[in-house]
Structures are given as C-alpha cells and as structure tokens.
C-alpha cells in the first residue's frame, strides 16, 4: 500500500477510551515491584479497586488524580504502611524483587527500609542533623563502627544534595533547617538505609519554587540508583520529573503511560479531562 492509501484506510474516528479498565502500559520488563489485583478497604468502603501495575527499576513514576482518588492509599500499599491504619485492609499480590511483601516471614521494618518513604510535610526527628540520618543505619545494623556510620551519613547527605549546606553544623537540630533543607534531610534519611524504592507523597507541596526545583533535580539524580514513586498534585511536576505517569480516578487505575505521551495525547477520556482541567 502506498503511504497515501494507508493513511486513508486508517480508522477515521479514534475515540478516547471511556471504560474503567486500565489503558496504556502498566507492565514493564524486569520490574522492581509488581502489584496484582490490589484492593484496599477502609472498613466496608473500597478505596482501591483491582489495581495492576509494575514499578520499573530506575524509573520515576508519577501518580496523579483528583483528591480522594486513592493515590496515597495505593502508595502506602507498596511498603505496607496501610498496616498502621486502623480498619484498613489490603488484598492482592504485591512483590518486591519477586518477594511477596505480605508473606508471613516478611518483617515490615526492613521492608520499609527497602521501600522508603518521604512525606508531604518534612518530618525530621527532633534530633541533630547527624542523628536524623544515622538513626536508620544504626537500628538496621548497617554500620560496624563510628567511622562507617560517619561515612554513611556523609554519603547520604551528599546524595541528597545537602552535605555542603550542613557539613559544618551536623550536631545542630534538623528542625532548625529551612523547609526545603528539611525535606532533603528526610530524603537523606531514606537513602541512608540503602532502599530500592523511594515513595514520595507530595514531597514539594510545602516548598517554594526554588526548593521544589532542587528536590526535582535530586529526584532525577536519585533515579540512577532507585525506583521512585511520586504522588503529586502538580501536573507540571509530574511532567518534569517522571518517565511514566499513572492516573487514578475514584480508586481505579485509569491509565498508565509514558509521561510525554500522557501529556500530549492521553488515551482515556478521564485522563484528558483531568489534565486539561475539564474535570467533572
């Protein structure tokens, strides 16, 4: 067929998807994490409905969607943080490097080191900058002696892009840092225990544009070593930092795709309506 005939014979009306099945590419080759048939209930109320998705290695995946759609709830499934919430029940199969994270033999403390979390509001412990970062490696026994611990702290603060700003005041309280510095301190704290995945729930929503830009740059660097799952309300942030974007709607995973594609040509009507602000 010539080019012309081919174009003419194409389906001429390409309607956007409207069903509630996930469209796009939720699965990847050689994933870091796999999530299959994940449902989450708060009491009788279902907050996450049959979600299937993989988290790739060395990817930043953004989770977007309207308030209350279940982004935070789903994020918390990935390191069993929902266990800590009264009345919350998770079903389905979640695996980290093939290991079932709900297996009876899995201890959640090391699991949460391997799948670390950074919260919306920077929450340093009321301790020194040094101790904030050293705490995790200490309880996980990652350092044999003080010299090793010093090294882990320095390396983590460097990776978090904070070292130069705090190296002369490591004994001062972490709570005395600026908001953006505190958030980088929390990232250093997550990094210190050698995670494989870092979960971030709106990590920049309390920060100004400059501090936000620093965190975003940091995210791009961290991707070389970790998988990062970031929940964000900022479309621009999702577009800037992630390689894939997942769109949630009322507990359903509606669409997953390469971020550049999702933001230029989404496949699902709900995604289109949400990212263009025509929602509801």
């Amino acid at each position: 067929m010539s080019g012309k005939e081919e174009i003419l014979s194409e389906v001429t009306t390409k309607a956007l998807h409207k069903e509630r099945e996930t469209v796009g590419s939720p699965f990847v080759e050689n994933p870091r994490m796999t999530c299959r048939e994940v449902n989450v209930y708060y009491g009788d109320k279902k907050a996450i409905n049959n979600v299937n998705i993989d988290i790739a290695r060395n990817e930043v995946i953004a989770m977007i969607g309207p308030s209350g759609c279940g982004k935070s709830t789903f994020l918390r499934c990935l390191n069993r943080m929902n266990d800590t919430i009264e009345g919350c029940r998770v079903t389905g199969d979640l695996r980290l490097d093939g290991m079932d994270i709900h297996d009876k033999n899995v201890d959640v403390v090391p699991l949460r080191a391997r799948v670390g979390m950074v919260f919306q509001k920077p929450n340093p412990f009321p301790k020194s900058i040094f101790d904030n970062v050293a705490y995790g490696p200490k309880i996980h026994g990652l350092a044999q002696n003080k010299a090793e611990l010093d090294e882990i702290v320095e390396r983590s603060l460097k990776k978090a892009g904070l070292w130069d700003e705090v190296k002369d005041r490591l004994t001062q309280p972490g709570t005395g840092l600026s908001g953006g510095q505190q958030q980088r301190l929390c990232i250093a704290r997550a990094i210190a225990v050698s995670p494989e995945v870092i979960l971030m729930d709106e990590p920049c929503s309390a920060l100004d544009p400059i501090a936000t830009a620093r965190i975003e740059e940091l995210i791009a660097e961290l991707r070389q070593h970790y998988s990062i799952v970031i929940v964000t309300h900022s479309m621009q942030q999702a577009a800037r930092v992630s390689q894939r974007t997942a769109y949630f709607h009322l507990g359903d995973l509606i669409e997953v795709g390469m971020t550049d594609r999702v933001f230029t040509n989404p496949r699902h009507q709900l995604t289109e309506d949400y990212i263009t602000g025509r929602f509801g």
Binding site: G3, K4, I7, L8, E10, T12, T13, K14, P66, H233, M235, Q236, A239, F263, T264, N265, P266, T271, E272, Y274, I275, T276, G277, R278, F279, G280
Partner: protein, 219 residues
C-alpha cells in the same frame, strides 16, 4: 484540580479569532479565482489592498498562542490545539499571500496586448483548489479527521492540472513567442493555485494531529 475558567475562555476566544481568519482567507481565495476569469480591475485592487488585514490577524493570533502557552502551560488536546493554531495560522497567512500573488499576476496579464492572454482555462483547477481549501478549513472548524483525509485525494488532480498548464504554456510560447511575460504569468497562476492546494493539505495534516494526536505527512 481547579477548573480553569480563564484558560478555557482564552482558548475559546482564540478559536473565534481563528474562525474569523479562516472566513477572511476563504473569501480572498474565492475573489482571486474570480478575477482569473473576469480580470475585474476593482476586485484585483481590493485583494491586493486588503492583505494587511490577514497579516495583522496572523500576528495577533500568534501572540495570543504564545501568551496562553507561557501562562497556562497547556497539555493534551489543549496543547495540540495551540500547536495546530500556530501552524495553521501560518498556513492561512501564506494562502492569503497566494491570493494576492494571483491578483498581481492577473493585473499583469490583463494589461498585456497578447491575443492569447485569455487562452488558458483555470476553472477546473480553481474549483478543486477551492474545494480543498473549504474542506480543510471545515475539517479544522469541526475537528473532522475523516474529512481532512479526503483532501489528499483531490491534491493529485491539482498536480495533474498544474502539469497540463505547464505543457499548455510551453506550447503557446513556441506558437506565440512575442509575449513571453504574459505566458509566464499565466503559468504562475497555476503555480499559485497549486501552492494553495499544498497549504490546504498541510492544514489537513494538522487537523489529523489535532484530533488524533498522530503526526502524519503525506508528501
């Protein structure tokens, strides 16, 4: 996600401006193909004189697009719409220029003393070009990718007629070599008509991108 009323109002205003410009250029091209046949002096002058309106409109639309991009950082269909407007805007302005060029050619031809100055019939080609332009603009207005695809079929006919015009002019030149300028200007009419058809095809490609998000190139 807040609903951006201002943003969507801006897009709607831009759409209205584009429609105004679309109507303007269609009117110019219709007048241009009319004067090919009638050599109406007044109409020729008015086509040449009124070109600044389309030029001004093009600048205004482009500025609006840049402003909306910078202020609202549109995505998805909104982004595609703005990109389409920027590109189509440019095509429309050039089509306006072609209408002016046709008027200028007609002006030269009508002043010629050649006995053969009216020997060429561009009515069929004009008709196809008007159809292509109208379809591409209607496809744009109604976001109709199927209609946009139909345009590519007509384009071949226009190309064939352009080639025939060339042969006819070459033949005339050898038979009546005393007024080469008139003959060449007659051939240029065919070239200008063909260029309008090309640009209508470009608009059709943009419409397909707008509607389907796929970039297509037909040449």
């Amino acid at each position: 996600m807040p609903v951006h009323h201002t943003f969507h109002n801006e897009l709607e205003k831009l759409n209205q401006k584009l429609l105004t410009m679309v109507a303007m250029v269609e009117d110019r091209v219709r007048k241009a193909v009319t004067v090919i046949e009638t050599h109406d002096e007044e109409l020729v002058k008015s086509i040449i004189r009124s070109d600044y309106q389309i030029d001004d409109m093009e600048v205004e639309i482009e500025e609006d697009c840049l402003k909306i991009m910078a202020l609202h950082q549109p995505v998805a269909s909104d982004l595609r719409f703005l990109i389409t407007v920027i590109k189509v805007n440019n095509e429309i302005e050039r089509i306006g220029d072609m209408a002016v060029n046709i008027a200028k050619r007609v002006d030269v031809i009508s002043q010629s003393t050649s006995v053969m100055k009216g020997a060429f019939d561009y009515s069929e080609m004009s008709e196809h070009v008007i159809t292509m332009l109208k379809m591409s603009l209607d496809a744009l207005v109604h976001r109709d990718a199927a209609m946009a695809r139909q345009i590519f079929l007509i384009e071949d006919k226009v190309n064939t007629l352009r080639n025939q015009a060339y042969d006819a002019v070459v033949k005339m030149l050898s038979l009546y070599p005393e007024h080469p300028g008139c003959m060449i200007n007659n051939y240029l009419l065919a070239r200008h008509l063909e260029r309008i058809a090309d640009r209508a095809t470009n608009i059709a490609e943009e419409v397909i991108y707008l509607v389907e998000g796929e970039i297509v190139r037909l040449r």
